[in-house]
């Protein structure tokens, strides 16, 4: 179980607990459950890399405590 921090730099900072083998799509659903936006409106980035929905966190090498950027579509 890892904990990821998502920050949208506009006031929304969210800590989400998830498994390493969850996909980014699952992570978006968890974030949506916590923030209240819709899951398909969320875009997760790291600098200019937009993370794709079907790839797992493990494959993106997202480790515990990593900060991700939260943007909206």
């Amino acid at each position: 179980m890892i904990e990821v921090v998502l920050n949208d730099r506009l006031g929304k900072k969210v800590r989400v607990k998830c498994n390493e083998d969850d996909t980014i799509g699952d992570l978006k659903k968890l974030v949506a459950a916590q923030t209240g936006t819709r899951a398909d409106k969320i875009r997760i980035q790291k600098w200019y890399t937009v993370y794709k929905d079907h790839i797992t966190l493990k494959d993106y090498e997202i480790h515990d405590g990593l900060g991700l950027e939260l943007y909206y579509n």
Binding site: M1, K17, C18, N19, L30, A33, Q34, N73
Partner: protein
């Protein structure tokens, strides 16, 4: 300049009509080439031409969330605000289904509740196919009536949040609308009658089977028992006991029968674990046969009495466990497995929502509601 709403347009729901589309999607539409090239300076008439050229509907798609031409035209309509008559014309026209869907969508966004129901419900009869662009960018197929159903039931469609409308029964009770009359009502009535007839037929069938069993000889029944006993190792003891009892010629008291019923219950419960319906039905029939053999007195009354009783019990027991009576008839597999699982696992849930740490339990609860597996700790 080009993106300003017509100053003569009235505000919808207290705000600029273009604000019905949220900010991010709105900016995406303004930056879109289709909007810039084709939707510049459109009026109501020229809008119709553009609408006739539509060949798919959809929201935003792709990694960039690019809007479809359908969305651009919706935005344009919000901007110029055509008259209600024009919108109704869009909806009523039969030739161009995409124009119809466009008009319906616009009415859903801007119309009043009773109008929405009045004009959109007839479109339930339109079952033509329409092309839908999925958020990934592929095309899928849907139908006009499915689209209308989405508009009337969901609150978010094609990346635009649909304004809330009153429920239909509220409007009916207010008297603003008549009760919903479906075009398929006559068909439904026919179906109901058919179902009622089938129910009667089923009961007749039961009566017929009684006669059928009357003709079978007891000797044959016994042979069938023995054959069947050989491959039912689990229930062999029960079978043997019963045969033994029968040969002994035990009495046919009510109590005996009840005991036998209880044994049968237990067997039936076990059998269900194997989920072998065919075998069970044969067993039931064989049991019926045995019952009949044992009855000399009160043949007519008793037989029908017990058989109907046991039969109804059979039917019910197919879905219920004999131990715990249930009110509803749940699905077969889950119902039978659930009581067993509950016994075995006590109260340990397998989705981790009873974890001692409340945060993890909460997280697991959210995950379970989303359909994800629990956290691996």
């Amino acid at each position: 300049m080009a993106n300003r709403t017509d100053p003569a347009a009235k505000s919808i729901r207290g705000t600029n009509p273009q604000n019905l589309v949220e900010k991010i999607v709105r900016s995406k539409i303004y930056q879109n080439t289709y909007w810039k090239e084709q939707c510049f300076g459109l009026t109501a008439e020229t809008l119709v031409d553009k609408a006739m050229e539509l060949d798919h509907i959809g929201g935003t798609y792709g990694g960039n969330r690019k809007p479809t031409p359908f969305m651009c035209l919706v935005m344009k309509m919000l901007q110029i605000q055509p008259e209600k008559d024009i919108v109704v014309e869009f909806i009523k026209n039969d030739d161009y289904k995409y124009v119809r869907v466009l008009g319906a969508f616009y009415l859903r966004l801007t119309g009043i509740d009773s109008d929405i129901y009045r004009y959109l419900e007839p479109l339930y009869n339109d079952y033509r196919k329409v092309r839908l662009k999925s958020p990934e960018g592929n095309f899928t197929l849907t139908h006009v009536d499915e689209v209308i159903d989405e508009l009337l039931t969901k609150d978010y469609s094609y990346d635009i949040a649909l304004p809330r409308i009153k429920k239909r029964w509220t409007l009916e009770s207010l008297g603003a609308l008549d009760a919903r009359k479906s075009v398929l009502e006559d068909d439904f009535e026919e179906e109901e009658e058919k179902d009622e007839n089938e129910q009667d037929d089923l009961e007749e069938e039961v009566a017929h089977e009684k006669d059928y069993y009357q003709t079978r000889s007891p000797a044959r029944e016994r042979d069938r028992d023995r054959r069947r006993d050989s491959h039912r190792h689990r229930d062999r003891d029960y079978e043997r006991d019963r045969d033994y009892d029968r040969e002994r010629g035990r009495g046919r008291d009510r109590d005996r029968d009840r005991e036998r019923d209880r044994d049968r219950d237990r067997d039936r419960y076990r059998l269900r674990e194997e989920k072998d319906y065919g075998r069970e039905r044969e067993r039931d029939r064989e049991r019926e046969g045995r019952e009949r053999d044992r009855r000399d007195r009160d043949r007519g009354r008793r037989r029908s009495h017990s058989r109907s009783r046991s039969r109804s019990k059979d039917r019910k027991r197919h879905a219920r466990s004999s131990i715990s009576p249930r009110r509803h008839e749940p699905e077969d597999g889950s119902a039978r497995e659930e009581p067993k699982k509950k016994k075995e696992k006590n109260e340990k849930k397998d989705d981790g929502t009873d974890h001692p740490d409340p945060e993890i339990a909460e997280a697991n609860r959210i995950r379970a509601s989303l359909g994800l597996k629990p956290l691996k700790l």
